[in-house]
Symmetry: D2
């Protein structure tokens, strides 16, 4: 941490800052510039809150030097984390594709879609049983019966299954059914929930908050990792910007940025990141070309009748076409789309 004193800060003010640094067990390093005095704080600065120091007299601003996360960082864990589930490697050289409807609506719906996405080459089934909806008057998901249907469809097809959990108290229930627990964008900073999935020791797909920075995403991952649960994937799903043509803005920069900052697998959700199914094809290719370790794509057999997110869902046929192109892009970056080695769950 570097503390920048105001121009003309008094000796007494500088002295008070130095005293405070040492009182907290850090060493201070004074550097007298032409216009400013700066004070380097030496020691593990992570527990310190930079803004706090700006309340001391004579302090102009304070700059953090170390990243505030540790377990999630490349420096702490230089090699890629590979999460192996049912023979599928997430985070290795393969690119995993997760697909399915926004919401599970019926047994027939989820089973049909599961077979279709399996046939097209997906290895993980996605689907929501507990749905965060902006309106209290919208369909809120089937709840536990939906979890049962998702599990049955996954078992029938040999797919892994990922589904969202929305409240700490629901973690045990959802963990009975899901292979991967999803934390949705609105819950990225729901700390009781992060603690709970950390304790669950289940694999977690952590979606970036729609207005969270890359650093905040990694801090949210750090919450889960700090419970000893290291099987965390981070997911870029579009951020909120001033652009209104698309539902969100896919932050493609975040893919290589995350790959350099963290060892955790990086997944991209082109469906939410665009909000328009016509844009899913191109952005899926972009994500794989940029180095994503996986994709999560919304597929619905009747998008126009979907109970949620129909506008961004591909039909099974469209999804199969997207997959065909993704194989070529994956090959062009010396990777391959993950395939299920064994069908038994």
């Amino acid at each position: 941490m570097v503390i920048v004193m105001r121009s003309g800060a008094s000796k007494k003010e500088v002295g008070a800052v130095l005293a405070r640094v040492e009182e907290l067990g850090y060493r201070a390093h004074l550097s007298q510039g032409v216009e400013r005095t700066i004070i380097g704080v030496i020691g593990d600065e992570r527990p310190l809150e930079p803004a706090q120091w700006e309340t001391l007299e004579g302090v102009e601003n304070v700059v953090r030097i170390l990243k505030p996360y540790k377990l999630a960082s490349r420096e702490f864990h230089p090699d890629d984390t590979v999460i192996t589930l049912n023979g599928i490697n997430i985070g290795g050289s393969d690119v995993v594709v997760m697909a399915g409807p926004c919401s599970v609506e019926s047994s027939e719906q989820i089973t049909d879609i599961a077979h279709a996405v399996k046939a097209a080459g997906a290895t993980v089934l996605r689907g929501g049983a507990f749905k965060p909806r902006s309106s209290p008057y919208s369909f809120q998901g089937m709840g536990e019966p939906g979890l049962v249907l998702l599990r049955e469809a996954a078992d029938a097809t040999g797919l892994l299954m990922v589904t969202e959990v929305m409240a700490p108290a629901e973690v045990p229930l959802v963990s009975q059914y899901a292979d991967i627990l999803q934390i949705g964008t609105r819950n990225m900073q729901n700390y009781p929930l992060l603690h709970a999935v950390g304790d669950s020791h289940r694999p977690v797909l952590l979606k970036r908050g729609m207005s969270s920075t890359i650093e905040e995403l990694l801090m949210a991952a750090e919450y889960i990792l700090s419970h000893g649960n290291y099987r965390v994937m981070v997911c870029e799903r579009g951020i909120r910007t001033f652009e209104t043509f698309t539902r969100n803005t896919l932050d493609i920069n975040a893919v290589p940025a995350l790959k350099s900052l963290t060892h955790l697998p990086v997944i991209v959700d082109p469906s939410h990141a665009t909000g328009k199914r016509d844009l899913v094809d191109a952005t899926s290719r972009a994500a794989v070309a940029a180095g994503a370790d996986g994709l999560i794509i919304e597929v619905h057999d009747h998008p126009e009748r979907a109970l949620s997110d129909g506008a961004q869902s591909l039909t099974p046929d469209q999804f199969a076409q997207v997959m065909g192109k993704l194989h070529r892009i994956a090959a062009a970056v010396d990777r391959r789309i993950s395939v299920a080695e064994t069908v038994t769950a």
Copy 2:
């Protein structure tokens, strides 16, 4: 809802949209323009999801006409909602001031601050016992012992008390101590939590998500209202923008906008909205001048030693000075700063 067909949409495509409108029990109103056909959908459109319709062949885009919230709207409830607690009116002609530390840290700290803010004219004590922190390594709040201390300090001073609740399962506990339940910015779309505080029938201070629109804020309020809990205040606390000089950007437009759109009291949090205590004075005045029904301000007796948010906390002396100026601004808009009529809790 208005459905805009693509230029050159076929009769068959138009027909399919009309059929779907009628299948769902709405009436359709066809309007043939020079370049486009548009279809008005007549009936209560709130359960419909506009984007959904864009998956139908030939549809270019779909525009919502009605606001998606109802109970929160001025149209539904033209008069201002006034929440009366212990003789204090929130949402009427008085301007209520809530003040206190970010976190409760000790009995002495919270009691001293409570007396100080009371002396300066606050009527509600704020303080966090459960703290959402971006780092798992930061102080997470005292938990229930903090609630006890907050209640004691409120009772000792005759102040009302507001504190944050972070998980649905904690709502009953926090409700035992708090007069007002606060939903924090990171939880504005934590729907299980909104349902839980809705069921609690406790007064709620609902903070705007840092990247939520005004409409989304009112939709979150609608969640609570839909449980029959009508004692909801909405709180503008700064939004996330590209500007980095301040922690957030206080959306002052939102104050008159909310006053026109909803009957619920509108509170402003200048501490989080700026992140800098030097800016709290001016922005507090601005909020009252713009029509806010209340303020929630962070005050700490030793900001430089606060366990959280010290940088944006006023000292009791600074707070007293701010209050002095607020009285004058309130008078200039024909209001007054709320005063505690009775001291007994």
Copy 3:
């Protein structure tokens, strides 16, 4: 400037950075931390580009310590700049109100409005003759004939006159007519234009770019000041955010922030900052309460027929009502709305 080396940076890498610092005539101050080495660069860092240094091997990131502007800063010029024009002080204890239509449309229109805003207490007439419009098919302004009409209306009423200039080549022409040259939001970083108005030595109203930071605004002012033209006002006119209910988001934080960072007068444009005339009243009050030195407000006698920006224009009656309330707010912060001492131009 502080250069943070990567964890594990080699001695050779550190040495190369030190050598480069000294080669450019600066002194380096080495600080060896537990996890990082940091290098303080001592000397006037303004000509240095921090990002540049990140290309050196072993450098993790580089932090600027000094503000990049000088002439615009409070440190350079601690006292408020007061611009005196025709007996009107801008930047002193008075609050100046500029008002008028978005575009000048006819002699009758501008004369009528000039008399109306004068009667209501404005001291500066605003109006556009050269209009930046997002569509090439929209009215682009009357051009020079509009300047003539503006001047005539100003002279007839004893008002000062501000109008926008859009191209360097037009600066001499506009300077013949205008008392104050306006740089519009889209041109805040039009550097040839900033150079030209700097050279003109005319008073300048510099509008903040709709997505420019406070620092960038002051850097744009610095361009003008660097030509020896010190009569610059900076204008907060709303920034672009994700919120769609309003046209822009009035950054009220910027008012006290600018007042602390710069000595230049700070003007607020509530018309563009909201885009809705219903919100102009409340936000005008907020601006004055927050310490603005002036307001620029759109007024049109027939908003529904205005050739541009009708939606955010007040009628003369509405403007008079707003002014009435502003007098009270100004008094509550120990200021007064500027009045024209002499009527002769």
Copy 4:
């Protein structure tokens, strides 16, 4: 255009709107809903300003139906525009790569880089002679001597040359040297400049404003097209968001979005869109995978000594590696990187 009346709007208010619609030569189509009356306006709505209508009594909001641009739209010109220059096709099946330094600094520098990027497969040389810099104290470019050097380097290598023009008065001068005129991000809404390059009938590379929407970008293109200059390329170069890890956020969604909305070639600038050279490789691949018609990449032989933008510049070796990978991505989407058919300029 659809006009939505407020709930409870009177017959007189509806009548006044209808009268105004007809007065302007449009036909009105009345649609009486359960809670709202809506009025469809039939005719070419492009000259109308929706917000204007919101000033009429009883109007709640107004929604545009048609896109405000015409010449730039796919509907007006369904086939891709292909700009052919010196045997190079921009906008066809080839992907064109433009490369070079941010600023031209010397004859040796630009010649060396030109040869290097030519050898690696670029077909257009980029470089700035007139530089928009946020600080008046930074290097502002060499001016005309820089144009001479750029032309010489282009001629010596058989590359086309693109360079920025910043003021209307400089268009003739820059046109003498450049094959393609670049409009920079800060000038996207500099309308006098758009008019001037429109009149020049030179090919134009129009960069998206850093906080401009896709629609505004196409409106800026419309300005140029409206002068009969149809050789316009639009360039996604990153938008300004809340994320601070990268300089800008590459809006990869904009690539397929623009390809669907307009016939104009779409270029991507991964250097400015990331601000970090480590991210240029991955995002270049993403852009081509998403369907970009070209890339513009900053390359400098000594990035650490570059007079501007060093942090985001590739070395020639790094650029050659990027190009190697781009060939594979282009092939995976059935395209190829453009090659110079003839070396003579």
